[in-house]
């Protein structure tokens, strides 16, 4: 399983989980916002190793949904859209959530095929294995399957 490991400063991390033809993305962190940020990193991990990406430019994304699960799907789909339209890929995220509204910032750069070796495009985030909540350790988990 591919993972983004925790650091000394934070236990936040991401991982992938298997799904038939596609792939699941999971972010885990002490806060809900952190879990959304890590899920976005897991999304990037489907495409390339996020550490290969340089945060040269920032893109702002805003979305709103009636519950936290749909908000995760909308957040990931907004990133899929920004990547497709701008030809970018991201390495770092910052999420703020107020009520049902999410405001996110994503730092990244233009796709460089030679350096990033992108494996696959993500078509969209789905409602399959969708979950946003706390795990047994009390950490926030944000996950769903993405279609590739």
């Amino acid at each position: 399983m591919q993972v983004g490991k925790p650091t000394k400063e934070s236990t936040a991390r991401w991982e992938h989980f298997p799904h038939g033809a596609d792939i699941g993305v999971r972010g885990i962190a002490a806060t809900k916002e952190g879990a959304y940020e890590q899920a976005a990193l897991a999304l990037m991990g489907v495409i390339t190793d996020p550490s290969r990406v340089v945060g040269r430019r920032v893109v702002v994304v805003e979305c709103e949904a009636e519950n936290r699960e749909t908000l995760l799907v909308d957040w990931l789909n907004a990133l899929v859209y920004e990547m497709a339209v701008r030809g970018m890929i991201f390495r770092r995220f910052e999420v703020r959530i107020q009520g049902n509204r999410l405001r996110g910032r994503a730092w990244g750069e233009d796709v460089d095929v030679a350096r990033h070796e992108p494996a696959v495009e993500v078509k969209g985030a789905t409602y399959t294995s969708l979950f946003v909540g706390r795990n047994a350790a009390g950490e926030w988990v944000a996950q769903c399957v993405v279609d590739v």
Binding site: I23, V113, K123, D147
Partner: protein, 476 residues
């Protein structure tokens, strides 16, 4: 999947009798081995499909069925608008009108043996593939709307092909009923620079050699002989279709309760065919079908350019173009009555038998070509529709090998570079921007396509005509 869950109707047909909220039975076409290999989720998903309003006869799973979103991949279901039938964004899928187009070249393998490397390089140079690749054009809004309305016919007007291409394309290259105005600005933005691109994942372009003929008369009618070189293109409606799928899935989930639809799974999101949301989705989905048809037409143009550079004597003629993620209006018999039904095929190919009016005149007495994509290391097949599939599966058949392993598992077992070298040793040239992408698409990650098509034939869904093996594969 446990066979104990199913009633065995015949060697290749299994039935799930209606229970719980199922309105009709579910029918799976598979050998015992394929049933054993099928994910248990296929059972759950095909049962869920059978609960949807207005479904007719049965929910069907093709021999390559595997776990999808809402519908299984390899799922077929028909809905009657007069009985409250629904249209489902999940039942079409994210890659709307993904499909296969196969071209005849007029060449034999000897014609390309010495230039295979050059040909692989030329195809890779001409056809944008992979993440971040851009097409030749940057579309304005009005150009996009013209393309979404006109499909491959629009592409011809732009100079990307010849009239004969349309004769061999479903819907003659233009799906009627498209409403570009129902396609969001987001979806259009995603497509603005993606026309004429292959995409990534399981999409590919292959140069193939005919290694076996199973049905001489059909092969002759299709223009295929042993050792012929063919080209197959597997791709769909790119970012536009993905965005439409994403947006309408969300809208249908949110409005299901309003329409009184109880969803057993959010991914089964649907709306009544005769409702504002259902009609809006149909207008957008048909626009995406046109986008896919135009995209494969533009790629055909690029393939012709690449061949003209390397093997000028090649004459590339479209054998056929089929889509395998669609919802189409067709007439079928149910309980002795001919009905106008909305047929969802998600990872399933339309497979009309002989004499169906939708088949091009030159092939009508034979049946519709059914193009089955395999893997870069095994084989693809050309089949022909059989009349009896009308009553078995609303004239539908399988669409490909179907994955048997996750992308994760594949990258653990194979390294892209090694795979490319191994295939080169077998005479198969791979061109791809991503070695990890190649590993994820390793031939071993898929089911045995040969068993899938044999079962399709034995189950009476479609009959084998020819087996094709890859010589060059461009992967996104």
């Amino acid at each position: 999947m446990e066979t104990a869950l199913l009633n065995r109707v015949s060697e290749f047909e299994w039935k799930i009798e209606p229970h719980g909220k199922m309105r009709v039975p579910a029918v799976l076409y598979a050998s015992e081995d394929l049933i054993h290999d099928m994910d248990a989720k296929v059972y759950e998903q095909i049962v869920n499909v059978a609960t949807l309003p207005g479904i007719q006869k049965a929910a069907y799973a093709m021999p390559d069925a595997h776990w999808g979103y809402g519908f299984p991949i390899g799922g077929v279901a028909a809905f009657d608008p007069e009985q409250g039938g629904v249209v489902s964004a999940g039942g079409v899928g994210f890659d709307i009108s993904c499909g296969v187009r196969t071209l005849l070249t007029g060449l034999k393998s000897d014609d390309i043996t010495t230039v295979k490397q050059t040909l692989a390089d030329a195809l890779y140079r001409h056809i944008p593939a992979g993440v971040g690749s851009r097409g030749l054009l940057n579309f304005t809004d009005s150009q996009l709307d013209e393309m979404l309305d006109g499909g491959a016919q629009w592409a011809l007007r732009m100079g990307y092909g010849v009239e004969a291409d349309l004769d061999r394309t479903e819907e003659r290259g233009r799906m009627l009923g498209a409403q570009p105005g129902t396609v969001s600005g987001f979806a259009k933005n995603r497509q603005r620079r993606e026309m004429g691109t292959l995409g990534s994942g399981n999409h590919y372009l292959e140069v193939q050699r005919v290694v076996s003929i199973f049905d001489e008369p059909s092969a002759r009618a299709f223009g295929i002989q042993l050792d012929d070189i063919l080209v197959s293109i597997h791709c769909g409606s790119r970012g536009l279709g993905h965005q439409i799928g994403t947006e309408f899935l969300r809208d249908m989930v949110m409005q299901a309760a309003q329409y009184g639809i109880e969803l057993p799974d959010r991914e089964l999101a649907c709306a009544p065919i005769e409702s504002p949301l259902g009609e809006k989705y149909l207008g957008a989905m048909r626009s995406a079908i046109n986008c896919a048809l135009a995209n494969r037409q533009m790629i055909t143009h690029l393939v012709r350019r690449a061949f003209a550079e390397v093997v000028p004597k090649a004459e590339l003629i479209v054998l056929y173009d089929v889509s395998h993620n669609t919802c189409k209006v067709e007439e079928h018999k149910v309980d002795g009555c001919t009905k106008r039904l909305f047929i969802h095929r998600k990872g399933a190919t339309r497979a009309f038998g002989p004499n169906h009016p939708a088949i091009p005149e030159a092939l009508r007495s034979i049946g519709q070509p059914v193009l089955i994509g395999g893997t870069m290391g095994t084989a693809s097949y050309i089949l022909v529709g059989m009349g009896e599939s009308e009553k078995r599966s609303f004239s539908s058949s399988c669409h490909g090998a179907g994955r048997q392993m996750s992308r994760h598992q594949a990258t653990k077992l194979w390294r892209g570079r090694q795979l490319i070298d191994d295939l080169a040793d077998r005479g198969i040239l791979i061109r791809s921007p991503s070695s990890r992408g190649v590993a994820e698409e390793a031939p071993g990650a898929y089911k045995d396509v040969t068993e899938v098509v044999e079962v399709a034939e034995n189950a009476g869904l479609s009959r084998r005509v020819a087996r094709l093996e890859p010589m060059v594969c461009i992967k996104g």
